[in-house]
Every structure is written in structure tokens, then in C-alpha cells.
Amino acid sequence: MKTVYVVCATGIATSTMLRLKVESFLEERGIEARVLQFRVTELSPERVEADVILATTEIPPEFEGLATVINGISLITGIGQGETLESLARALRDDS
């Protein structure tokens, strides 16, 4: 199963909102994936086991290449959230 990390600066507030939206979107689309919630400073490149990192905050450059990094701000503002969710779905569909 693929794994999505939802990440914000506290691991409390905006990442919770991301998790709720992502979970209901995945259920709607029938996509199976694990959704785990983190604080950005808890992540370390050696321990990342995610296919997608969806974050409301900047993710350090060393994570590029380890997972598909997607900016999740639109899921908080509500502007452009459709596109963001589509790119999440695409990243989870790819068999790479």
C-alpha cells in the first residue's frame, strides 16, 4: 500500500485539516493508502517511507526525490484544491 505523509509545522493544526480532506478524498475515489501525520522537524531523510509528502509548509530540499512533494496550502484556503487533490491521486496511481 502507498503512503501519504501529511505535514505541517506543528503536526497539530493544518496537518490535521489535510489529513481529514485527504482521507475523505481517498475514500471517495476508492484509493487505498496509509495517511500519516507529521511535524516537519520530525521528518528525516533516512526514515522517510512515503510515496507522497503533502505539506502546508516548506519541505527541505533533501526530501525531493525520496517522495513526491506536493504543496497542500490550497486544501486549507480552498482555492485550487481540486487540482492539488488530482495531483495527489496521480502520484498514488503511478507505479513507479
Binding site: A9, G11, I12, M17, T57, I73, I79
Partner: protein
């Protein structure tokens, strides 16, 4: 009107946080068009979150009360006021008379200000209305009046919105996040104080020439970025310095680590409960303001992943402890503790004032927290009263410990209004309204982006 609000406030508070806020949240959700079953679920989850927070805050109480006093006596420092941290403070603030009403009234006020064109910020971050409730609770403590507390809380929301409008162009450009603003006092409040200092340090050449790479700091101090690990280290050090034996110090360390991990987990349940309501509010408002340009107001956490912000936030951990010791002759009695984990909020909106320079951001952080620490000590009676009277049931041996909240008591709006409302009510109301009008003209006449935007 006044009588009605007061009796609603008293009635709700009599019900306690397990009933009052959940009912308000469910009703608000239904009014804003949330499906009734989902609204009731939000209400129930709010209550459940409070149960979880009570349990973990109890653990915090038993951990900190063993540290504060012994640390002060054994080290000979007078740092005997313990910082309980913002996650616990947020629950305390929502569990007050003002806290019960701040979310519906805050949304209403934001809508009115948008209609009259006084703000461009639509604050969808209703979770952070707890900062306003915190100020309201302090003012109610000072004045004994619920209405004045509510007034101060709503005024604080206006200040937060104005600060968000004012800083939006600079923030959007610096962090490359178009369309947002940050009405989050835990960062914007510090920025207000830091603006003149920012202007000053940008003009000191030798400061500008010291360069520090944020990524190096982030990699070296990375462990401090994980609250559980930070909690263990801080708990152990405080235990040892407080004269505990090795075994007890390790127990203190483990308990502190647990507090750092568990309270935020419980608070995230509260956020989860409020999220559908926030979404309903944001849909409701965007529908009514179609075709108008406005900024979406967010939590400053969205800025806090920036490498300068993280680096400065990490550097502030040891610096805040040193500051507390250095300022103790000047009257500081606050022992920085739980809020050490969240230096990123202090740094988030200071970084754009110095074009993202790590050393200067940290320097500004030291200045605002230095001033703030003194006030965290001065506001401790109000915070302790908040802890004792909230129905959270924190287990405190009476006459033993004094508490403060390092993050929030250090915000200029918190201490500003706390002191202003010690004057007669009429003066306090008039002066605070004048200050808000002043801030309105400041945001219209001073362009922060021109003043601080990176010149290339």
C-alpha cells in the same frame, strides 16, 4: 443586549467546557450549513477532545509542580514560575466564559469588517481564536467583568486582522504564498514589536555581514526540533539541576517527553472537531463575498517550514533559557519549558523583516522574547487564576506553584491589554479603541513591503 450576552455567557460557563463549547460548535455548524449529523459529530468530538486534554494536562500539572519550586531553591535562581505551554493554554482559554462565545462572535465580527471594507482578511483559522479568548480571560481576571473581557477579546481579533492585512504583501512575497495573510497573534503579535528593531538592525552593517547557513543549523540541531526528544532533554536537565537523583531525573524527563507528545495529540483532536465547522464557515463566507478580492487568513504554521524560520526557532531554544537566567536580576521569574518547542512561531514573521537572515531573525527573536519574558512573569497571577478557575481540573497544590504561558503572555497584545484594563473601564475602552484606529492608519500608510522587501 449587554444583559443578554452576560447571561448567555454565565449560563454557558455554568455548563462547563464539556457541554458549553460542544453545543456552541454544533449549533454554529448547523447555522453555517453543515449537515446536522456532521455538526453534532463535531460537537461531540469537541467534548471528547476536552476529556483527552484534561487527562494529559493533569499529567503536565504533576510533572511541572515537582520541577518549578525545587529548581528555584536548588539552583539559587529565582525562576519559580513554570511555563505550561500553548497547547494546554489553548484548551484553558476555550474553557472560559469568553472562550465559549469567541468563535461565533469572532466570525460575525470578521464578516462585518469585510462588509465595511475595513479588512481584506477572511480568517478561516478559527482554531486560533483561542488567542483572543486568552486575552479576554486575562482582562476578565483584571476587571472582573465578562463584558470587558469579551470586548478585549474581540478587539484583539480586530488587531490580528489589521496586522494580517498590514503584513500580507511582505509575507506573500517573502514566502512566495500568494493570496494569504497571517492573522495569527502567536507570530503577528511579535512582528508588531519587532518592526522598529528590524528597521534598526538592517542599518547596522557588521550585523548584516555575518552569514549563517540555515540548513547547517537545521541538520546540527535537528533533534531539538522533535518535541518528544526536546522534552526528554529539558526534563532531564531541569531534574538534575533541581537536585533530583538520577532515577527521579530520568522519570521527570520521560514525563516531560510524554507531555510534549501527548497534549498536542489531544489538541489535534480539538482541531479535527473544529475543521468541518471552519470549512462550513469559509464556504459560507466565500459565497457571500464572491467577486471580491481578499486574503485567506491562515495559521503561521504554514510559514514555519521555511529553513530560516526553523533554524532561528532551534537557536532560540538555548537562547530563551539563557535569556531567562540573564533577565532574572531584572525581575524575570519565568522558567521556559513547554513553549521551548515552538520557537518557530516567534521567528515566522520576524524573518521577512531581515530578508531571511538567520542571525538577524534570531536576534529579533531574542529582543522580543527578552521583553516578553519579563511580562510572562508579570502576567503569571492572571494565568494562574485562569488555570485554577477553568473547569479543566488541573491538579495543583494550592499556594505552591505559579504558572505562565511563555508564548502567549509574551505577545504585546496580551500584556498591553492586561495593563490597559487595570485603568478605569471607560479610559481602557477609549484608549484601546484609539490604538486600534491608530493601527488601521498605520497599515494604510506604512508599506512594510517597501520598507523591508529584499532589495536586489
Amino acid at each position: 443586549m449587554e444583559g443578554i450576552l452576560t447571561s448567555i455567557g454565565e449560563f454557558l460557563n455554568g455548563l462547563g467546557p464539556l457541554i458549553a463549547l460542544p453545543v456552541v460548535i454544533a449549533l454554529l455548524g448547523i447555522i453555517l450549513g453543515q449537515k446536522w449529523d456532521s455538526a453534532i459529530r463535531s460537537g461531540l468530538m469537541t467534548a471528547v477532545a476536552f476529556v483527552g486534554i484534561f487527562l494529559t494536562v493533569g499529567l503536565l500539572g504533576s510533572t511541572v509542580s515537582t520541577i518549578g519550586q525545587t529548581f528555584a531553591t536548588n539552583t539559587g535562581t529565582n525562576l519559580d514560575i513554570i511555563d505550561i505551554g500553548w497547547p494546554a493554554a489553548s484548551a484553558l482559554a476555550f474553557a472560559t466564559p469568553v472562550g465559549n462565545l469567541i468563535i461565533p462572535l469572532g466570525i460575525l465580527l470578521n464578516v462585518l469588517l469585510l462588509i465595511f471594507g475595513l479588512t481584506q482578511t477572511l480568517d478561516v483559522d478559527i482554531w486560533n481564536f483561542w488567542h483572543m479568548a486568552f486575552v479576554g480571560a486575562l482582562v476578565q481576571f483584571v476587571t472582573g467583568s465578562f463584558m470587558l473581557g469579551l470586548f478585549a477579546a474581540l478587539l484583539t481579533l480586530v488587531i490580528a486582522l489589521f496586522l494580517a492585512d498590514w503584513s500580507a504583501p511582505l509575507i506573500q512575497k517573502h514566502f512566495k504564498m500568494p493570496g494569504i495573510s497571517i492573522p495569527h497573534l502567536q507570530s503577528a503579535g511579535y512582528m508588531l514589536l519587532a518592526v522598529p528593531f528590524g528597521w534598526l538592525v538592517n542599518r547596522v552593517a557588521f550585523l548584516k555581514n555575518m552569514k549563517l547557513n540555515p540548513d547547517t543549523i537545521r541538520k546540527k540541531l535537528g533533534l531539538l526540533g522533535e518535541p518528544m526528544v526536546l522534552g526528554f532533554i529539558i526534563g532531564f536537565l531541569l531534574g538534575i539541576l533541581g537536585g533530583q537523583g538520577l532515577k527521579d531525573a530520568i522519570l521527570t524527563a520521560v514525563n516531560t517527553a510524554a507531555v510534549m507528545l501527548l497534549i498536542p495529540r489531544m489538541v489535534s483532536i480539538l482541531v479535527e472537531a473544529l475543521t468541518p465547522v471552519a470549512e462550513a464557515a469559509s464556504k459560507y463566507m466565500t459565497k457571500r463575498f464572491k467577486g471580491r478580492e481578499f486574503y485567506i487568513g491562515l495559521d503561521s504554521a504554514v510559514l514555519a517550514g521555511n529553513s530560516t524560520v526553523i533554524a532561528a526557532g532551534l537557536l532560540l531554544v538555548p537562547l530563551e533559557i539563557l535569556l531567562a537566567l540573564a533577565l532574572s536580576p531584572l525581575g524575570n521569574r519565568t522558567l521556559p519549558f513547554i513553549d521551548l518547542a515552538d520557537g518557530v512561531f516567534v521567528a515566522a514573521m520576524l524573518a521577512p523583516l531581515v530578508a531571511g537572515d538567520v542571525i538577524l531573525t534570531t536576534l529579533l527573536g531574542v529582543i522580543v522574547m527578552g521583553i516578553g519574558l519579563i511580562f510572562t512573569t508579570l502576567l503569571a497571577p492572571g494565568v494562574t487564576q485562569l488555570v485554577n478557575t477553568s473547569s479543566l481540573g488541573l491538579d495543583i497544590p494550592t499556594g505552591y506553584a505559579t504558572y505562565t504561558v511563555m508564548s502567549d503572555a509574551a505577545i504585546p497584545t496580551s500584556y498591553g491589554l492586561y495593563y490597559l484594563f487595570q485603568t478605569p473601564a471607560a479610559i481602557a475602552v477609549i484608549v484601546s479603541l484609539l490604538l486600534v484606529v491608530g493601527l488601521y492608519y498605520l497599515k494604510r500608510s506604512v508599506n512594510l513591503e517597501k520598507l523591508f522587501g529584499a532589495k536586489k
